[in-house]
Structure formats: structure tokens, C-alpha cells
């Protein structure tokens, strides 16, 4: 029998240039409303796993860094478990898996202090270690979802069901961050020959 959902999803609108007022007011100098900005730390204690940083810059179609973006990441813990009741398994109680940062107003660099996620194995499938990255900014009508994989996980990346799905293999490197000490560096290109792979959440 044909079936359609009862309601339709609310339309997205751009987060605008002042998304930080609402989502991270302390970074805009509004200190008296919330004690801390949501997602400013991903740790509630000594989390298991390797401490890493992820540093990235978003470039627009002219090659200019996007300096007003808000970026969120969501990832599994060191054992590949998400801190969410939807996961159904027990996650590391000292790691939230959720981070929210803004691009530096001068350089456009945003930086997350996190742990290296484990591979996620569910229902007979194994996903290489990765981080979901979600980008909201002025001029972006529907927030952009992408993933960050790690260049020192070549074998796991090769077998990853999501990366394998990308038909144009030359685009795969747009999802892979490069290790430099404890920091993985990554570039996101909104347009152009190096346009990052974005996906339909």
C-alpha cells in the first residue's frame, strides 16, 4: 500500500554570519548567559585512546578561507562506540564524541582536541576510523556533511564501505587528513577541482 510520511521536514535556512551568538556566545564575548559553550570540550575525564588534534581550513570557490563557519564533529570513542543511546553499546564515559568549534576570525583555521576514533564494527560491516564533520555558515543553505579519515589508516580506508562507494576515486583524497605529529591537518574546498566530497546525511 502506498505510504507517505505524515509531515514534511522543516526547510533548512542558512545559519547566517552570527551563528556564534547563538551556539557559542562565549566566543563572541557574551559571557554571562551560558557558563561554557556547548561542545567546547569533548572530554569529561581521562578518555581512553590516543589524544589527537584535527586542524582544518574551509576554502570558498575563490580560495579564500571561510572565517565565519561553525563546525561540529561527531565520532566514535577509541573502541568504535558512539556515546548515544541509538548505538546500544556502552561508550567511554569520559568522552562525549561531540565537538563544536568556530573558524579563527583571522585565519579561518578550526581545531578540535579529541581522540583517535576506533574502527566502527556493526552488523558485520567495519568502517575505518573517521569523524563526521558538519559545517554551518553564512551562504550555506543546508549545512554540509563530510567525513574526515586518517592517512595512517590506509588499509582500513581501502576496505571502508563509504569510501568504496565513491565512484570517482580521484575524489577520495579530499576526505583524508594528513598526520603531522599529533595533529591531523585537513582542507575542505567548497568548490573547484579539489571540491571536498559532501554527502547526503
Amino acid at each position: 500500500m502506498p505510504y507517505a510520511p505524515k509531515l514534511k521536514e522543516s526547510a533548512s535556512q542558512t545559519a547566517g554570519p552570527y551563528v556564534h551568538i547563538g551556539c557559542m556566545p562565549n566566543t563572541t564575548g557574551i559571557h554571562t548567559i551560558f557558563d561554557t559553550d556547548l561542545g567546547s570540550t569533548m572530554f569529561t575525564g581521562e578518555a581512553k585512546g590516543e589524544r589527537i588534534n584535527i586542524e582544518a581550513v574551509i576554502f570558498d570557490g575563490s580560495g579564500t578561507p571561510v572565517k565565519d563557519a561553525m563546525v561540529e564533529i561527531w565520532q566514535a570513542d577509541a573502541n568504535g562506540v558512539f556515546a548515544s543511546p541509538e548505538d546500544g553499546r556502552e561508550a567511554d564515559p569520559h568522552f562525549t564524541g561531540f565537538g563544536r568549534q568556530h573558524a579563527d576570525h583571522d585565519t579561518g583555521v578550526f581545531r578540535f582536541e579529541t581522540i583517535k576514533p576506533g574502527a566502527v564494527s556493526v552488523d558485520g560491516k567495519t568502517y575505518a576510523p573517521h569523524v563526521l564533520m558538519w559545517i554551518a555558515a553564512r551562504g550555506i543553505n543546508l549545512a554540509l556533511a563530510t567525513r574526515v579519515y586518517f592517512d595512517d589508516e590506509a588499509e582500513a580506508n581501502e576496505a571502508d564501505p563509504f569510501l568504496s562507494r565513491i565512484e570517482l576515486k580521484s575524489r577520495v583524497p579530499t576526505l583524508i587528513a594528513k598526520r603531522d605529529g599529533n595533529t591531523y591537518r585537513h582542507e575542505i574546498h567548497l568548490q573547484g577541482p579539489d571540491e571536498t566530497v559532501f554527502f547526503d546525511l
Binding site: E9, S10, A11, S12, Y18, I21, P25, T28, G97, R165
Partner: protein, 240 residues
């Protein structure tokens, strides 16, 4: 773990490239997003406890005001439900909101509009939905303001919303407009949405039934996030 969300109906959302909204020209990906049947990464999402919410977090009239003072403007309550496409309530989920003041200016150093800052208005708040998906907050009605897009573009009065839902697949940022505002039909950002009904669903209705006499008027605004297929989890036989 087996779950799934209805595919997002992209006809309800603005496309990335909307030249009438000029900033989208250089910030819109030109290649199609890659479809994927989803994985645990999208079917999960952060949860926040009610302990996150302070007493005045949902009261923008008072949450930045000096003692004994309150924000200037028309006092309003905004309320409604966060539901999914199956009209199921989305319980205990975080809703964040931000807006300009009653003169149309944001408390942000880059906002240089002529209208004055209100010393008693910060412009942000948050709340969580209850067991029935209901939320409410108190604020002042923001004003329309001009913005640099075309030569004479004005944003309609609006409040920005950020909603989490229970999985990243539902994550949404949107804006609420006010019934009867003639600027809605003129706004290049509103017009990025191709579907007239989808625009209409972002317009809050004046709700005299829930207005408080001699105090504040109410506006009703429901938010719908993506629907989830009703599957039985192997580890939770009762379903979802």
C-alpha cells in the same frame, strides 16, 4: 544496530547554489552530494541532559539583563513541538535560538547597523523539549534589518533555530518568521527555498489563545525533523 531515516526530501530544502542570495555563489558545492544508506555515524548523535539548562536560558528578556531591568521590545512567547515526519514527538532534545534585538541589531562586533544595542539584551537562549516534544521560550520580537546583498535587501524579522534530534541524520538549522510580515516574500534568503508550502511552514502563527493578557503575545512554531523508519532493534525487541 539497524535503523534508518527516510531519505531527506531535498525539494523541501534550498539548493546550495542560489545566486539571489549572493554569498551562496562561492560557498555552494557544485558536485552532487553522495548518497549513502547510512551507518552508525549518522544514526547516532549527541545527547544533552536537562542539567545543561540554566533557569533563565529560555528567557531572552531577562538572561542578559541587569537586575531589575529587562530587554526592550514587544514581549513574546515562542512555543511549539519538535516532531519527526511521522508526527512522533522528539523528546529531551536541545533547541538553541538566536536573534537580533528590537531595533534589528545583533550583539556582534561585526554588526554595524545604525540601530542601537540594547544593554539588557544578549540575543541567545536554549531549552530542551519535554516528554511530549514541547518547548517554549520568552523573548522580544526582533526587528527587520537591512543587509548587504542587493542594494536594498531587508531580512524579515526572524529567529534562528538549531535543533539536534536524536541522530545526526536529523540535525537542522533553520529560521522562524512571523505571520503577516511583508518582508518574507521579498527576502532573498527565504526565496532560496523552492517550495511555497515549505516556506509557509517556517512562518510562526500568532496564537492569541496562549497569549498572556497584559503581558505577552504567543507565537506557535513547530519544527519537523527527518522521520525514522520504525524498525525493531535486535538489542531492543520492544522496537523504537
Amino acid at each position: 544496530m539497524k535503523s534508518g531515516y527516510y531519505p531527506r526530501d531535498l525539494n523541501m530544502h534550498p539548493p546550495a547554489y542560489t545566486p539571489g542570495y549572493r554569498t551562496s555563489i562561492l560557498r555552494s558545492p557544485q558536485k552532487a552530494p553522495i548518497g549513502f544508506d547510512g551507518s552508525p555515524t549518522e544514526f547516532t548523535g549527541p545527547t544533552f541532559g536537562h542539567s545543561l539548562i540554566g533557569e533563565l536560558d529560555n528567557n531572552l528578556i531577562l538572561n542578559f539583563a541587569q537586575a531589575g531591568e529587562s530587554a526592550i521590545g514587544e514581549r513574546i512567547m515562542v512555543h511549539g513541538y519538535v516532531l519527526d515526519e511521522e508526527a512522533r514527538p522528539i523528546r529531551n532534545t536541545l533547541v538553541e535560538f538566536w536573534q537580533a534585538n528590537a531595533g534589528g541589531r545583533y550583539r556582534h562586533k561585526k554588526d554595524t547597523y545604525l540601530a542601537p544595542l540594547d544593554p539588557n539584551f544578549g540575543g541567545c537562549g536554549r531549552t530542551m523539549t519535554d516528554e511530549s516534544g514541547y518547548f517554549h521560550f520568552f523573548t522580544i520580537r526582533p526587528a527587520a534589518y537591512p543587509w548587504p546583498n542587493g542594494k536594498n535587501d531587508w531580512r524579515p524579522a526572524h529567529i534562528h533555530f538549531s535543533v539536534f534530534g536524536t541522530a545526526f541524520a536529523q540535525r537542522l538549522i533553520t529560521q522562524m518568521y512571523f505571520e503577516g510580515d511583508p518582508n518574507i516574500a521579498l527576502c532573498p534568503i527565504v526565496k532560496t527555498i523552492p517550495d511555497a508550502d515549505a516556506i509557509d511552514r517556517l512562518i510562526a502563527r500568532l496564537d492569541m489563545h496562549n497569549s498572556r493578557p497584559h503581558d505577552m503575545r504567543a507565537y506557535r512554531f513547530d519544527i519537523v525533523l527527518r522521520g525514522k523508519r520504525s524498525t525493531v532493534f535486535e538489542n531492543r525487541k520492544e522496537g523504537n
